[in-house]
Amino acid sequence: MKPRAIKQVLLTAAALLGAASIVVPAAAQSQNGKNNRDKADFVRGNATSKAKRVTPPKTEQEAVATRRVAARGIVELQLPEDRMVNLVAVHHADGTVTYQHLAEGESLPAQDKQGEVK
């Protein structure tokens, strides 16, 4: 969805729906509040760049349960852990190493037999 396409649609929609009086929230102008000093905080390991670890819901069912109405009435849910993917270096018996993704909780493939296709 292109922003400019949305804007074109909105110009029409706003006229039709009488939405011209919508007020721009101040936050929409810019939320790029960080500067190089903030970047330096992360690089230097300063406390201000740290936060408690966020963990996603484990399953799709749990993810759907996180569903809520966020800003501007837009519905939000969280990506479940079982859709997070792991990048894995897999070592094969014939000396090959392949990289692949693996779903959370999925077992690493058993070590290949000689000549088995990976």
Binding site: P3, N36, V117
Partner: protein, 537 residues
């Protein structure tokens, strides 16, 4: 509800205002003394000035964040949770890292069903942080034990490990951390579908923006024109394409002409091939000639796991069967017997990418073909010639209509299938499932920005700026070159690590010299980088 969402979405978009280069902010989620905070000393290298493991990790991560931040526009900060943990690592494999979007938003636009968007992309489209400055947009984590030791004291992938340099010069055996971070963040920014590849069901019953562009060439159907069963079949069908207009327009700019191993003489055919990570790259110049089947005199003579008589394959292309020993060992024995090139016939369907073996060092160009194609050549021997030959009008990693192919192997690889470009893509792409040594995501992210653009991201159209000064180096160009983004990221790193302005200028001067020497910028651009750096106080 739908009308409410439409109003909300559209009104926000109308007033989003001028977009800024995205500010991608890594959030350090590691405890003291561990992971990103590991104080173990490490000598600076590869352009990374950090002096400890933790600092080099943070610098490389910040560099990746700055690269994507420079390429994309967003009024909302993009917060990326970063952490190192002791992930699984044993004799069979090593989990290097993982990532994904954290929040997902359901957006509505006329003519389309309600659609799931990655959190950072939704923020950019709406023009504000829908989480209100809390939480994170992307979750990422990486293996702290890689190349070191596991918590139980066992070795984790000895001889391998992370390379934290920013220059792309990854030593053999190491994995470029910057490339992996760029790859994983890209998944969180938009390069991923949310559906279940095992049962074909969309997440929570909604379409997602990535999958909207996916097309099944076998049935000629869009992703959401199929049933769950149809999607299950398609994801292992080996013929899924991404049909976004920006990706499609840039495919010819990025991908090489498709080549095959072409047999002639007493057998003929065009054969798809796989490559090796050892030996010189196979080219039309070095890979051609008469084929001879390897016979080392052992119980399995065509597997070539033992030395063959000297000169047995002199000037020939040696055909060897897969099995029993490592690919590079086969290649080395054939090379020692005079072979000019090696062709490995698989012992099952499909072609394979062949890894190296540390015990030998073969230099001969080596390719693999399928079992069936190997049988075709064997049936024609003697009298078969092979050569690498182009297929006019076809591109490496695109379908016959010019659409970029997606990874759709059989059996399905959960978490890998569908959300990557196909492994046949050439040159290797950042968003293939394999992180190869030939990638240089510090300068080139190939078709990834185009895919983001198709999804709705706005790419920064201008030149790299240092403190508001125009360097004349485009931030991102068609085809995925991000040299300008690299300039901005490097300036940030120099600025953060310099003790004073003189040290910053020296850092940038050395950098622009390297850029110019490597041909990535011209002399005028190099001069402007230096000039901008001098003014940046």
């Amino acid at each position: 509800m739908k009308k409410t969402l439409l109003l909300s979405c559209l009104s926000a978009a109308l007033f989003a205002g001028n977009a800024f280069a995205a500010n991608v902010i890594p959030i350090n989620a590691d405890p003291a003394g561990q992971g990103l905070n590991d104080p173990t000393p490490l000598a600076p290298g590869g352009g990374n000035p950090g002096t400890s493991i933790g600092e080099q990790r943070r610098i490389a991560y910040q560099f990746a964040a700055d690269l994507w931040g420079a390429v994309l526009q967003s009024n909302a900060d993009i917060r990326v949770q970063a952490s190192f943990q002791a992930l699984r690592c044993d004799a069979t494999g090593t989990v290097l890292g993982s990532a994904g979007t954290s929040p997902i938003y359901i957006l509505t636009e006329p003519g389309q069903p309600d659609t799931l968007y990655h959190g950072a992309l939704a923020d950019a489209l709406i023009g504000e942080d829908l989480q209100g400055g809390t939480g994170v947009d992307i979750i990422s984590r990486f293996n702290a034990s890689y190349g070191l030791t596991n918590p139980d004291g066992s070795a984790c992938s000895p001889g391998s490990g992370w390379y934290y340099g920013l220059d792309g010069n990854t030593p053999a055996g190491k994995t470029n951390f910057l490339n992996v971070v760029m790859h994983e963040i890209a998944h969180g920014l938009g390069f991923s579908g949310f559906g279940n590849v095992l049962n074909g069901a969309p997440l929570a019953g909604y379409q997602d923006i990535y999958s909207r562009f996916v097309h099944n060439n076998v049935t000629n159907q869009g992703w959401y024109q199929m049933t769950n069963a149809g999607r299950m079949a398609a994801v292992v069908g080996g013929n899924l394409a991404f049909r976004g207009p920006d990706v499609t327009a840039q495919v010819p700019l990025v991908l090489d002409e498709k080549t095959v191993v072409r047999a002639s003489g007493t057998a003929s055919g065009d054969f798809v091939y796989g490559t090796a990570s050892f030996g010189v790259p196979a080219t039309a110049a070095n890979f051609s000639g008469s084929v001879v089947l390897v016979n080392d005199g052992s119980a399995s003579p065509s597997q070539g796991c033992f030395a063959s008589p000297a000169g047995a394959y002199a000037g020939k292309v040696a055909l060897v069967d897969r099995g029993t020993c490592a690919f590079e060992i086969k290649a080395k024995f054939a090379e020692d017997a005079g072979a000019k090139a090696v062709l490995v016939a698989n012992n099952a369907s499909g072609v394979i990418s062949m890894g190296e073996d540390a015990s030998v060092a073969a230099t001969v160009p080596t390719l693999s073909i399928s079992q069936a194609d190997g049988a075709t050549i064997k049936a024609g021997l003697p009298g078969v010639n092979v050569a690498i030959a182009p297929v006019p009008g076809q591109l490496q990693g695109a379908d016959s209509s010019g659409y970029a192919l997606l990874y759709a192997p059989n059996p399905v690889a959960q978490g890998s299938s569908f959300s990557h470009y196909d492994t046949s893509t050439g040159p290797n792409a950042l968003m293939e499932p394999a992180i190869t040594a030939s990638l240089a995501a510090n300068y080139n992210v190939d078709l990834t920005p185009a895919l983001f653009s198709d999804e709705g991201w706005t790419l920064n159209p201008g030149n790299a700026r240092i403190g508001g000064c125009d360097t004349g180096v485009p931030v991102v160009q068609e085809g995925g070159l991000i040299i300008g983004a690299n300039v901005q990221a490097q300036s940030n790193i120099c600025e953060i690590n310099a003790r004073n302005h003189g040290a910053y200028q020296s850092c940038m001067a050395a950098y622009k010299d390297r850029l110019e020497a490597s041909g990535l910028v011209n002399s005028a651009q190099a001069d402007r980088i230096a000039s901008c750096a001098a003014k940046n106080r």
